[in-house]
Symmetry: C2
Subunit: 541 residues, 2 copies
């Protein structure tokens, strides 16, 4: 029989250290660009693991990170799971109350925080119930003034460590390695736990020639934030395979991304459509040398066909469309064409490339329609269900597990077709969620907030397509008779402001006489979207 050696993440950092000590991580932080070899990264990772051990982080303990894409976050990506603890990447774009909720729900014992994010945590620190220590990741010699306590300086902790920490070799492959929360249709975010086994298999999938083909020869730049589904697993794969990494850091601009690609000779990069629309504009306006780029990996939302075409035809940059979600680690399908499809005309290939793609080896998918499993003919629609070893089986300590997981399958909430060649295409969403620039917005939460206003009789929020952000929320409001003509858009927006992150606020509020409903009184969102589309078009004429 075969050895029962577990699929654990310790092998990844050890392989980088042993086989690729000379390879590089280029890290942009608040103070500029720094360069590290994997030898240095591995040593610093061991020191961080040792420091966490001194802070009494034990196996199974959760350690939260609130940070951008840089080398210290990368070190945390390995030091935490490779010592048996759980890497909890906190989405810093969530509202403060949601951030408090997920830190408390995960029971994070230690938080690693970028210095610019410290104020956000200071504001809510009294509500955090489990955190025993704060570590600030800063380039400065000294800690900033802070009310957090006890608080540690990341670099000082590393400097104080002996450096002789050894990663344990007895971790179970099914033990938790990471976790990430995803927005729910309403209410608090739901947590997903990633196992060592899932992350290892997902990383292998990223390295396969027919998927992203991440290789030692690549120079990979994850633009997708490290607080979004492990930056799609790219940092794990890159370290394992000895791939040079370019970490773009906080508050980057399209110009900065273009410069990094040009100067660091990036070969593969990954992010949401909003990012690539920005880059495309920059490339259209200024001259850059993008010849190193073998692939732009795009997911999080459907990529507009025109954008794919512009990258490929105008700038000669291959574009790779993919699909996944927090629950799926995330890679599920990827739009790599089959050999014989390469012979199609460009327009036909573009049609395929603007679909989400075909299934990565290792997973299963099916379409579930009203009458059971739908056929793969590119026409029959139904909800996409997925199964496989890097797909979540539940939400962490959450009753809402029952909504998404049934009979051993994850029900994605995405309405899709799959064509005869196995290419999946998203056509609609069953859940009341809006995806704006790669982040989820709950239409239900906005509706509930609006309906709490004294003037509002009923309110529905729908997604409208948006050129830059893919989708934006628009609210449809029916005012109570007494308030008609008296309450305006501005008043309602002011009312919402304190309750939500700024980017959640509806772009437009339309006042209607009624909201179309189903026979059982539910909002008919599809009809409403059509109506909104018409009204907005008229407004813009």
């Amino acid at each position: 029989m075969m050895m029962q050696t577990p699929l654990t993440m310790t092998q990844m950092i050890k392989r980088a250290e042993r086989f690729f000590p000379k390879k590089e991580v280029v890290s942009r932080t608040a103070s500029g660009i720094q360069r590290f070899t994997y030898k240095e990264i591995a040593e610093r990772t061991r020191r961080l693991a040792e420091a966490l051990q001194k802070l009494e982080v034990e196996r199974g303990d959760k350690v939260g990170t609130l940070a951008w894409n840089h080398h210290r976050h990368l070190e945390a990506y390995f030091a935490i799971p490779c010592s048996g603890a759980v890497l909890h990447t906190v989405n810093i774009r969530l509202s403060p109350q949601h951030i408090v909720y997920i830190i408390n729900h995960a029971e994070d014992k230690v938080l690693l925080i970028d210095s610019d994010i410290v104020p956000l945590i200071e504001a809510v620190k009294d509500k955090l119930s489990s955190v025993k220590a704060f570590i600030i990741m800063t380039d400065d010699q000294e800690l900033p003034e802070t009310s957090l306590s006890p608080v540690y300086h990341y670099e000082k902790l590393l400097a104080e460590a002996t450096g002789d920490y050894e990663f344990p070799d007895d971790l179970d492959e099914n033990s938790p390695a990471g976790m990430c929360y995803t927005s729910a249709t309403t209410g608090n975010p739901k947590g997903v736990i990633y196992s060592h086994r899932g992350i290892v298999l997902h990383s292998m999938a990223l390295g396969m020639a027919d998927s992203a083909g991440v290789s030692e020869k690549d120079i990979a730049m994850p633009v997708v934030p490290m607080f979004h589904v492990n930056a799609w697993g790219l940092p794990f794969a890159a370290v394992w395979f000895g791939t040079n990494l370019v970490m773009p850091g906080p508050y980057f601009t399209p110009k900065l991304l273009a410069e990094l690609i040009q100067e660091e000779k990036v070969t593969i990069t990954a992010g949401v459509p909003t990012i690539w629309l920005g880059l495309l504009k920059e490339l259209d306006e200024n001259e850059y040398d993008m010849r190193s780029l073998r692939s732009i990996l795009c997911g999080g939302s459907a990529a507009p066909k025109g954008m794919i075409k512009a990258f490929e035809q105008k700038h000669n940059i291959p574009f790779m469309h993919a699909y996944g979600m927090t629950e799926t680690s995330p890679l599920v399908v990827i739009s790599t064409l089959k050999s014989y499809q390469e012979e199609l005309s460009y327009e036909e290939r573009l049609d395929l490339k603007s679909k989400q793609g075909i299934l990565v080896p290792g997973l299963e998918m099916k379409i579930v329609g009203k009458d059971g499993e739908a056929s793969w003919d590119g026409k029959e629609m139904g909800e996409l269900a997925i199964r496989g070893p890097w797909i979540a089986s539940e939400y962490y300590k959450d009753e809402r597990t029952a909504d998404g997981f049934r009979d051993g399958w994850l029900y994605t909430g995405d309405v899709v077709t799959i064509d005869e060649e196995g290419f999946m295409k998203i056509v609609d969403r069953t859940k009341d969620l809006i995806k704006s620039g790669g982040e989820w917005i709950s239409s239900v939460d906005l509706e509930n907030a609006l309906m709490a206003h004294e003037a509002v009789f009923e309110a529905a929020v729908v997604a409208v397509p948006h050129e830059e952000w893919q989708e934006r929320p628009v609210a449809c409001v029916v005012l109570k008779d007494a308030f008609k003509g008296k309450t305006d858009k501005q008043e309602l927006l002011e009312f919402l402001k304190p309750q939500f992150a700024k980017w959640w606020l509806p772009d437009e509020i339309l006042f209607l006489n009624e909201i179309p409903k189903t026979s059982v009184g539910k909002f008919l969102k599809m009809a409403l979207r059509d109506q909104v589309h018409k009204e907005l078009t008229e407004m813009n004429e």
Copy 2:
């Protein structure tokens, strides 16, 4: 947490069927070349699984194959494990007594046999203790005359099946899927069991961009026999990824291989150095279009540097050196260069390429010397030990497990160095085995047979390098005084002939006055090899 979906092989054939029904298997059998789509192969595979079920093959039962590389063998590769039985590929080049031993030791319930191999089994059929049925794989409408019983016609079994067989979805990933026997230093071959999990992970490794990078875009021709470590796993990977396969069938010549590569536009092929030396000669002598070939994968024995250079420099065909063994599924290391090594001079790159290569992601290796673990400096030597999820943990029902497996590691018997870059190079072998044209020969068994001759006082057999076969056995014999000058080489060879396969017989028998020994009386094989080398050189001058 993540789903506990098992890593089983059923997903491979189902993926080919669902996503790649149009892709092709080109199969050369005794009667010529036939072409099948994966749709057809999958349907035939289901029919074979159904037929085996009717023959009462149950989960865990062993089914033996004695066959060349063709589409029916490929169908057996999936029908057997995907129905829960165990695919036992029997090495038809072993001696009849070893073939009898392994079929009985594995307890094969059914044998699938190529028609040209039927006589071999007829000759030993009375010694087979577990076989309940024989299936003959033939292109002919009717079965050949045979004394085997009960005997079935492969195509008729398939024709009689309903075709609605469904693969079970409850196989355990750690259950046995395949098995293969490997030659021992002495005595009977030792069996290795492959699990579903091991085969799935090994296939992923074959598909990774940094290893063989097997892809849907490839057209793969496994020249390595399917009775050698699953044809190095290529058939599994190819079916899973929808890669076109070219199966070269029985008794091929270098000319035939060159023609298949040219006509079928093969992109990747795999085999032992002896095969490639033959192909090289053919390419030197005749014109072929080899531009489709992106890689020749070479393993089984060390590839001569001159051959690598000739393929790459003279014929512009990239050459990929790899290392593995029956116990390792087999892929362990592969000589893909690192990005910065591509900038070295060709001679420097050639030096690296003639090493066995660097470790595939997922495994661990170390060198164990006299004083514990040796360092990776390209100089310190020791025995290579390997660990990982596609490495065997034991020999099947065999006390000799203790020889090869210690402390959770496989001890390979190969003496190696590993350089600072992690490139492993074989420098010697601790085991008394000779590898001739990809097959093992036991020097100890030859020695024991020689010492059973009345004239022989003592005998040692060593490997000498050979241009075509990489290694060939040469015997060193000390005659008893009474026989000196009376017994000659011819007499000893005639004495050995009935006991061994023809290709086991020593190329030369040297008569010495004594055999160099260690202080404890063991043959000093290294000194002996030098002495033999000198004597042979003198003989040839």
